[in-house]
């Protein structure tokens, strides 16, 4: 298999240098953005950028297998898991700017700079030599070399990994399981509740197609007034709880646009209410 990523190792040095600096700048900028972005979704997307640029850096360092694992497992699976949990928790959840601990940001910045200085000193003192001469294990033979190591030298850690994964899967199932505290409602109890609730019939449908083709149009009653019950609470709640205003406004717009093009009555107009 001759893939561009596998052949990237012996590429021209200027190309490698150019690619490294571009990717390094992208990765650091996305990392900083991740720390600074207030919305959790933006953080997730920026983390994906960091991970993808790291994947390309792995390929440059002669690790094509890890590059693909990074894209498939990390960006594909782990980050998608993050996004699923974000959907449960609420996609618009944003951090508040108020500091709960006084001076937390300042001390965090000082600690970060201290850590950076410390690590930079360590690296400056360490003798990090140039890259070893290219071997087949860093190019087209990467997967074979890794497999040989995993199934000989690192066989025991590899087997222990399976126990870890089983434990993690079981733990996730136990933690995410919800115990039912109330008995499951049967059809009988639901029907009784409905009759006892004062309104056994379904709620009236919205006035879609009566005056306009949008679902937030309230139905018209026989006396010409509108029925608030006919519009879903989800839609009417968008206008900060002002159900009356939404219904009246939508009705007014409906009569305005009815003379225009009834087939393509503009949805955006009614949504901004």
């Amino acid at each position: 298999m001759k893939h561009a990523l596998i052949l990237a190792a012996p590429a021209a040095t200027t190309t490698r240098e150019f690619a490294f600096w571009i990717l390094a700048i992208i990765a650091v900028a996305a990392g900083l953005g991740m720390v600074l972005a207030r919305r959790a979704v933006h953080c997730a997307v920026l983390l994906a950028v960091v991970m993808l640029s790291l994947a390309v850096l792995y390929a440059m360092l002669g690790a094509p297998f890890l590059a693909f694992v990074q894209v498939i497992v990390y960006t594909g699976a782990v980050l998608m898991l993050f996004l699923f949990v974000l959907m449960i928790v609420g996609i618009s959840s944003a951090d508040s700017i108020v500091e709960t601990i006084k001076g937390q940001r300042l001390w965090a910045a000082i600690g970060g700079i201290g850590m950076l200085v410390l690590l930079a000193l360590v690296i400056g003192h360490a003798a990090i030599g140039p890259a070893a001469p290219a071997k087949p294990g860093f190019g087209s033979n990467n997967v074979n070399g890794l497999a040989q190591l995993i199934f000989t030298t690192y066989l025991f850690p590899f087997e222990v990994t399976s126990a870890l994964l089983i434990t993690a899967a079981l733990g996730a199932m136990v933690l995410a399981h919800r115990e039912r505290t109330t008995p499951k409602p049967t059809q009988k109890t639901l029907a009784r509740q409905r009759v006892a609730g004062g309104r056994p019939t379904p709620l009236p449908g919205p006035g879609t197609y009566a005056r306009h083709n949008a679902v937030d149009m309230p139905a018209l009653l026989p006396d010409g007034s509108t029925s608030d019950l006919s519009v879903s609470e989800v839609i009417s709640g968008r206008a900060a709880g002002d159900t009356e205003g939404v219904a009246a406004g939508a009705l007014a717009r409906g009569t305005d646009t009815a003379s225009g093009d009834p087939g393509t009555g503009d949805r955006s107009d009614t949504e901004e209410a």
């Binding site: 991740m34 960091v50 993050f82 970060g112």
Partner: protein
């Protein structure tokens, strides 16, 4: 010429960014993302050292780190959904029942 030292320096910078994120942010999911960033930075250093020594052991360790990180994310996010279900909040400040 880009040497492994460049890659290790980049790994250090990313690690510090992730560490500062863990200290500053309060949304538990974002905290987890910052931890992931730190793990990724470590992986980059491992791969760079593997390239420097011309041996594949560093890549193997990076591979194991990925496996452990995946397991950690699964359990951590399950804990987070459990906490969110109980308290309706993903902020680490709200889960302070043991304080005082």
């Amino acid at each position: 010429m880009v040497s492994p030292a460049h890659f290790v320096a980049l790994a250090v910078i990313l690690f510090v960014i992730g560490g500062v994120g863990v200290l500053v942010r309060r949304n538990a999911i974002v905290l987890f993302m910052c931890v992931e960033l730190m793990l990724n930075a470590c992986n980059l250093a491992f791969v760079a050292f593997a390239r420097m020594h011309g041996a594949l052991d560093g890549q193997i360790i990076a591979f194991f780190v990925m496996v452990v990180a995946a397991a950690e994310v699964v359990v951590g996010l399950a804990i987070m959904t459990a906490i969110f279900r109980a308290r309706r909040s993903a902020s680490v400040d709200d889960a302070s029942l043991m304080k005082y």
